[in-house]
C-alpha cells in the first residue's frame, strides 16, 4: 500500500464508493476471451477473415463512441455489433446482433474472476457499518448482471450506473447521485477505482473524495492531477489499512 497523502487517512470514511470493471476483477482477460469468442463466432458464421472482423468492429466501435460520447450507451456491445453488421453490408440483423452480444457477455462472465480479498474487504466494511455503493460506467442491465454473477449484490447498499446518471465518470453526476442515495453521516468519502482520470481525478475534483487506486498489470498509476491519495495492488493491503483505522476508532 503506497500512501501519498497520509493526512487524508486519519480516520475511517463515512462511505465507500467502488468502481467495478478492472477494480473488483481484472477486465482485460475476460474482455479478451469474450472478444475472441465473438470474433470466432462471426468468422465461422460469415466465413470471413478475423482481420475483417477486427476492422469492421473497430470502425463500428469508433462510430458509436463518437456519436454517443461519454454516455453509458457508448460502451454498448450490442450497438457496436449492430453497427458492425451494418458496416459489413448485412443490415442491422437484429437476431445476430443479440446472439453475438450474448456470446460476448456469457464468455466475459465465465472468464471474469474477482480479485482475491474483495469479498473479505466488503465483509470488513459491512461489519464496520459503513455504507457502500458502486459507481460505474456502462448500462445498468449488464452491470447488474455482473454484480449478481459475482454474488456481490448483498454486499453493496447502492449502485449508480452511467446509464442512470446520464454521463460517464469523471462527470460529477454519478458521484453526486451516489452520495444522494447513501446520505453519508460525514463528508469523508473513499473512492476506490483503477482509472486515474475517471475514478481518481473525477472523485477528488467532484466530491473531494479520498482516492485509492487499485493497480495491477496494465493499470497506469495516476500522476500529477491524476495522482491518487493512495494506491494498492492487493486488497489485503487495503483491509490492513481499514483494520488499523478501525482499531484506532
Amino acid at each position: 500500500m503506497k500512501i501519498n497523502n497520509q493526512e487524508r487517512f486519519a480516520r475511517l470514511p463515512d462511505a465507500f464508493l467502488f468502481d467495478t470493471d478492472n477494480t473488483l476483477y481484472p477486465y482485460d482477460p475476460a474482455h479478451a476471451a469474450a472478444q475472441k469468442a465473438v470474433r470466432d463466432k462471426v468468422v465461422n458464421t460469415f466465413s470471413i477473415m478475423p482481420d475483417d472482423f477486427d476492422q469492421a468492429f473497430r470502425e463500428a466501435r469508433g462510430q458509436v463512441k463518437t456519436r454517443l460520447k461519454h454516455t453509458a450507451s457508448s460502451h454498448s456491445r450490442l450497438l457496436y455489433l449492430q453497427r458492425m453488421l451494418e458496416i459489413m453490408g448485412l443490415g442491422s440483423q437484429v437476431l445476430l446482433a443479440l446472439d453475438f452480444e450474448q456470446t460476448y457477455w456469457r464468455t466475459f462472465l465465465s472468464n471474469a474472476v474477482l480479485f482475491d480479498g474483495v469479498k473479505d474487504l466488503l465483509d470488513d466494511i459491512r461489519l464496520l457499518g459503513i455504507p457502500t455503493a458502486i459507481v460505474t460506467d456502462l448500462t445498468a442491465q449488464i452491470q447488474f448482471r455482473k454484480i449478481v454473477y459475482f454474488g456481490l449484490d448483498n454486499y453493496f447498499d447502492f449502485i449508480v450506473t452511467s446509464e442512470e446518471a446520464g454521463y460517464d465518470k469523471p462527470h460529477e453526476a454519478p458521484f453526486q447521485i451516489a452520495l444522494e442515495k447513501m446520505r453519508p453521516k460525514g463528508d469523508c468519502i473513499w473512492m476506490i477505482g483503477d482509472n486515474p482520470v475517471s475514478d481518481i481525478r473525477g472523485a477528488r475534483e467532484k466530491i473531494n473524495a479520498v482516492t485509492l487506486q487499485k493497480t495491477h498489470a496494465g493499470v497506469e498509476l495516476g500522476t500529477d492531477a491524476n495522482a491518487p491519495d493512495a494506491s494498492f495492488s492487493e486488497f489485503a493491503a487495503l483491509r490492513k489499512l481499514i483494520a488499523k483505522l478501525g482499531f484506532q476508532r
Binding site: Q102, R106, L109, D116, R145, V148, D153
Partner: protein, 683 residues
Amino acid sequence: MKKMCLHPMFFLGLAIRAVLIIGMTPLAVSDWYVPFLDASISSITLDPWSAWLAGGGTPLAFPYGYAMWLVFLPLTLVAKLVGSPLHYGYGLTLLAADFCLLITLHHLLPGRERLLLAVYWLSPIVVLASYALGLNDLVPALLLTMSVFFMRRVELRLAGCFCAAAISAKLSMVVALPFFAIYLYNNKALRQRIAQLFLGFLTCTLILGVPFLFSNAGLQMLFGNPEMGKIYRVALGLGGNVSVYLVPLIYMVMLYLVWRVRRLNFDLFQATTGMAFLLIVLMTPASPGWFVWSIPFLVLYQAMSGRTAIILIGVFSVLYVLSTLLVTPLLLSNGLDLDFGRVLHVSGQLGNHAASLLHTAMVAIGVVLAIRIWREAITRNDFFRLSRKPFVIGIAGDSGSGKDTYADSITGLFGGHSVVKLSGDDYHRWDRQKPMWQVMTHLNPMANDLEGFCNDVVSLADGKSIQSKHYDHQTGKMSKSFRIKSNDFIIASGLHALYLPILRDCYNLKVYLDIDEALRRQFKLRRDVLQRGHAVERTLTSFEKREPDAERFIRPQSNYADLTLALQPIHPRMLQHVDDKNPLRLKLVVKSRQGFNEVSLNRVLVGVCGLHVDIVLSDDSAEVQMTIEGETSAADIEMAAEMLCPRILEFLDIPPRWQDGMAGLMQLITLSHISQALTKRFI
C-alpha cells in the same frame, strides 16, 4: 506466477540451489552422469549407450532412456560450448526441471503460491536428493506430474505422451501406469476417451521407446542397474528359498484398493497414486532419489489437508535428510567430503544403527501419512462418498407428459455410459392386441407388472443386473428378455413410477411431470400418430377412456414427488392458434418439497439466464412454487449449473449435453435437486 517468482521464499530456494550447484560435485554426477553426457556429445550418435560401453564406461553411468538423455543434452552442450564445467549444465538442467515442476504444481494449485514455495520449493527432500546428491529423479517426476496435469485438463493425448516420456526417463515410473488405466477405465465419462491416451502414449513410446529397444547397450545398462533389485530387498522369508516381497505385495494391494474405489475423480486418482508412490518409496530405503517421486503428490495432499499434514511432512522431510546424511557423505567441489556420520561420531555400526532408527521414525510417519491420505483424501472425498451407491431417479407422469424426453435430457447430462433407464411401458402385462385392453386401460395399476418393476428397480439400486423385456410401441409387442446392468444413475420412469410406497422408498429423487392437460393431449396426439403410427381417432378416443383412471391412479402420485415439473403454455388460448407464424411459447411451473434452493436458483435464473421468475411459498411453507418464463440457451444453463451446483459437475459427461429453452431449465432444476439429494448422503 509473477507473484510467486518475486516472493522472498522463491529467492531463498533459488539461492540454496545455486550454492549447491556451485559448491557440490556429487559422486554420481562426476563419475557417471557427466562423463556419459560428455561422451555422448563428443561423438555425435543416436545410441550413446553403445558408444559409452564401447569406450569402456561403467554400465551404472546412465541406466535411463532417451527422454532423460534428451532433457540433459541441451544445457550440457551449452556448458561444453562455453567451456564451463559440465556439471553446471547438469545442475542447471535439474534447476530448470525443478522450476517447471513448480510451475506445473502452480497450475494444479492456483492461488496457493505461498504453500507451494514452502512445501515444494523449500522441500529438503527435493533440495538434498537433487542438488546435494545429484540424483535426477526430478526429471521423471516432472514428466509424470505434467501427465497428471494434462489428465486433469482432459487432454488425454498429451497426458499419454508425458506418461510415456516419464517412463522413458525412468523405467520405474511404469508403476504409475496401472493407476492411470484404472482412473480412466473406472470413470465412465473418461473411458470413452481412453483411446486418446493410448494414442499419445503409443506415439511417444514409438519415438522414445522403440529406438531404445535397438540399443543392446542401453537395455544392458537399464536392466543391469542394481536399483531395479531394490524392490526385492524387503522380504518375508517363508522357509526354503521362498519369500514374499513386500514392495510388490503392497503395490498389488494398492492396485486392488484403487480398483475397489470404483468410480474415481481426479482428486481420488491423484490421492491414490500418491499414496501408492509413498508406500513404495518407504519400503525401498536405499534409494533416496525415489522420494522425489512422491513429493508432487504430497504437495497436492498438503494443499487439500491442513496444518497437521504440513507439519507431518515437514518432520518426515527432516528425518529423511538426517537419515540420508548419516549414511551418505556429501562431496564438495573442492574435493573435500562432508561426512555427517563422522562429524557426529556416529560412523560405522553406530551410524548404521542411528540411521536405521531415524529411518524407522520416518517410515512410521510415512505410514501415518498414507493412512491420513486414505482417510482424508479418499474416504472423506465428496465424490467417493457420493458415488458409493447408484443414484435412483423415479419419474412418473401421464402418458405424453414427456417422461422419455425428460429422461433422455437427464441421460444427456450424465452420458449414456453412466445411466440405465427402466421404462414402465416395458412392464405392461399384455401385448397391445390382447383382449384385456378392452376392459382395462394402461393407466390401471393392475394392467402393469408393478411388482416386477419394483423388484428390478431394487435390484438395479443394489448394483445387480436384471433381465428385462422391451415394449415395442410400433408393434405393440414385448421383446424377448435381455440383461440390463446396473449403473451409476438409474432412471425409472413410468405411469406408476411413484405408485407403490416401496418404489418411492427406492428413489433418491422423485419427479412428477404434471404437464398442462391440453398441451399433453396435443403432444400425445402428435407422438402417437406420427411416431407410433396410431390412428388419430383411436388416440382421441383413448383420451376420454383414460381420463377416469388418470384421475384415480396417475395424478395422485404428484403428492409424493419431491419435484413436480409442469410445462404450460404462456396463455391457455395460445394452443388454439399454434402454427408456424405463432409458435408455442411455454412456461415452466416448478413445485418442490425438498427444501429447494430457490433463492440461489432465482439469482442465477434472473441474473445469469435473464428469465422471469415468480416464487410462491405454500401457506405451511412446505412447498415452493416457481413459475419461470423466457428464452434461455444451453450455454446459459451450463453457466448457471456451474454456479448453482458445482459439486455435481464432476459426475457429468465430457462434455454434457445441455439443452436450450425449457428442456435446459428442467435439466438445471433437476441437477440442483440431485445435488441436494446427494448431499443427504453426508448426513
